[in-house]
Symmetry: C2
Subunit: 361 residues, 2 copies
């Protein structure tokens, strides 16, 4: 057998294929590991599945399961009676290739050396991530999803999937999305990458302790800075007309977050995943954006967030217009919020409505 | 004589006071040095002076002079027939205390040790900067300015001056301004400060070579990232619908800028000046913002820039409303621009009009 499915103690499933997995850049992984979780029951004709794509810093645990009651990153959206109603749908979330929550990535053991890849894990693209997931989904026998849904980096996977495998989905939900890397995002990430790499403890990714990487923590702080806009920063630190702001409170808040992040997320994975976003451009092998998007057959929903300074509403409008002009059946919602890029993770009610309405149309 | 005025070969004037200068935090400078430049002629009753306050990364050279024909940072605004018309007005710009272009700062020689202060230069506030300038202005015998004008950090000096010395000015121009440090700005700067400090070559500010400080260059890149908004980044890198962005172009652009900056700006000064902005809050010694602003007697112009993500239009509106509610005679212009925080430095025509009209009212 060249594939194995192993149920882990936390309820997630570990899939391993011992066939060589060829990456977009020609490099290969001798084996492919993917960890995923599911919610609800797959119906007999396998037509009720929804593939949820996760964002940068989380994994397959999108919602609680009977085995793992810990709240997931989309806890409010996935579950019985929720927007992705698991009494009707079978939801699946797969940890992205390159990440650090069980799927092949820098922390995985390289079967050729029997040691973790660490700094030697190859560069992967968003297309590599979806190709790896398609391989798994084929093994599961799911031929057509009711829907694909992703936010932020997750929406990049959903979008590229809808272009590469248009026959495999009916609906597509893209939240705080992007169809290519924009200059400001590349600029921001390149500063983060440099912060990681100039750290003398980094050692080309072969560092001794993730938690001691000051450059990585600095990168995370910069990420954090961009996830919320200035109004949200004001609200959080109660900065109003007649109050002064204590700079030490803000420094401490960022330090606390970066410390916490460095305890749960691998720096090599962070570099691998954020680099994949730099390389992202769904149109790169097409003559025009319309030629690319006209491959999409799924009914599509684009949700932008007004205060998102990272993936701006302007970028979402550009995406929506291009989808429309390419003949895609497409809806657009501009969500008014102060929560910026993180809105889809923190605002339960509006996103329940947007997603629920669209799925049940 | 406890003061000296020395004309330097570049046409700027070096002022030195050998009286102890006491800072807001109680620390002292044994001597005070300030370098300034002037344009036009001071009239007999000394009523035609305009004090221009410079932003973070520049100095007293706001415009060309007969001795120094190099374009200044407000070249398009200061000069004969320009918005600040030097056939009518006498303009003066003083290098801020803590900076690295001749005024007392980390590069100055500490008379107690006969060596540069470097990492031992004391923490200074924006109020310390204006207090030092007031001392010089008094020596020059200027009792009342026709106007004060500042953009970005410069406007913080102009504003605090108008509150502390209301009788010394008729008009006040605040561009891309702020009356206190906002949480998002503190967050951003705290990341920059940490980038500077974690660099092993930093050595608590007693580094061997400014140009070799990778942390300082990283900080500058982060500054650069925030000075323009995403539209401007798109425009600069020609990112439109059917073009891909080369990440290497963006990385190179930032690297080039940071390298250039590290050759002309001292890292200790950068830390000193950006820290002074963290500590900035004109209202801190008052019971309310209205009590503070009601001290201002100057006619005031507030100019905000639509695309400014650093000092947002929302902050400018807050400033403008508070000025109005405090009884200040105040105008507000929201300038439409894609140039973000840098607009006042790069857009000649609209700012010529805003400033020219307001000065000549």
């Amino acid at each position: 057998m060249s594939e194995k499915f192993i149920k882990r103690t936390d309820g997630s499933i570990h899939f391993r294929s011992d066939e060589e997995f060829v990456l977009e850049n020609g490099q290969t992984l001798k084996q492919l590991e993917l960890v995923y979780e599911t919610w609800g029951e797959l119906n007999d004709d396998k037509s009720n599945a929804i593939l949820v794509h996760h964002a940068l810093s989380v994994g397959a645990h999108a919602s609680e399961t009977p085995v793992n009651p810990e709240a997931g990153w989309w806890q409010e959206i996935i579950g019985p009676g929720k927007a992705i109603d698991t009494t009707r749908y079978f939801a699946i979330c797969i940890n992205n290739l390159g990440s650090c929550f069980g799927s092949s990535g820098p922390l995985s053991v390289n079967p050729e050396t029997n040691e973790s890849y660490k700094g030697n894990f190859p560069e992967v693209t968003i297309g590599d991530m979806t190709a790896s997931q398609k391989l798994l989904v084929d093994k599961l026998g799911i031929k057509k999803f009711h829907a694909l849904a992703g936010g932020s980096m997750g929406s990049m996977l959903s979008l590229i999937w809808a272009i590469d495998y248009p026959e495999t989905l009916s609906k597509l939900i893209l939240i705080s999305s992007s169809y290519k890397a924009y200059p400001a995002n590349i600029a921001n990430r390149s500063i983060q990458h440099q912060a990681i790499r100039v750290d003398p403890l980094w050692q080309n990714g072969n560092y001794a302790s993730n938690e001691e990487l000051s450059g990585f923590k600095l990168a995370r702080k910069l990420g954090l800075y961009t996830y919320r806009n200035s109004s949200e920063w004001n609200r959080r630190f109660n900065s109003h007309k007649n109050s002064s702001v204590k700079d030490t409170d803000i420094i401490q808040y960022m330090e606390y977050n970066a410390e916490k992040f460095s305890k749960r997320f691998d720096a090599n994975s962070y570099l691998t995943l954020t680099r994949s976003m730099d390389l992202f451009d769904v149109t790169k092998e097409y003559d025009s954006i319309e030629q690319c998007f006209s491959k999409i057959t799924a009914e599509t929903l684009v949700v932008s967030v007004e205060s998102d300074v990272l993936f701006t509403p302007q970028q979402q409008q550009e995406l929506y217009s291009a989808l429309q002009e390419s003949g895609v059946n497409c809806q657009y919602i501009e969500h008014h919020s102060q929560y910026g890029h993180d809105a889809f993770l923190v605002e339960k009610e509006p996103f329940t409505k947007y997603i629920g309405d669209f799925l049940n149309l």
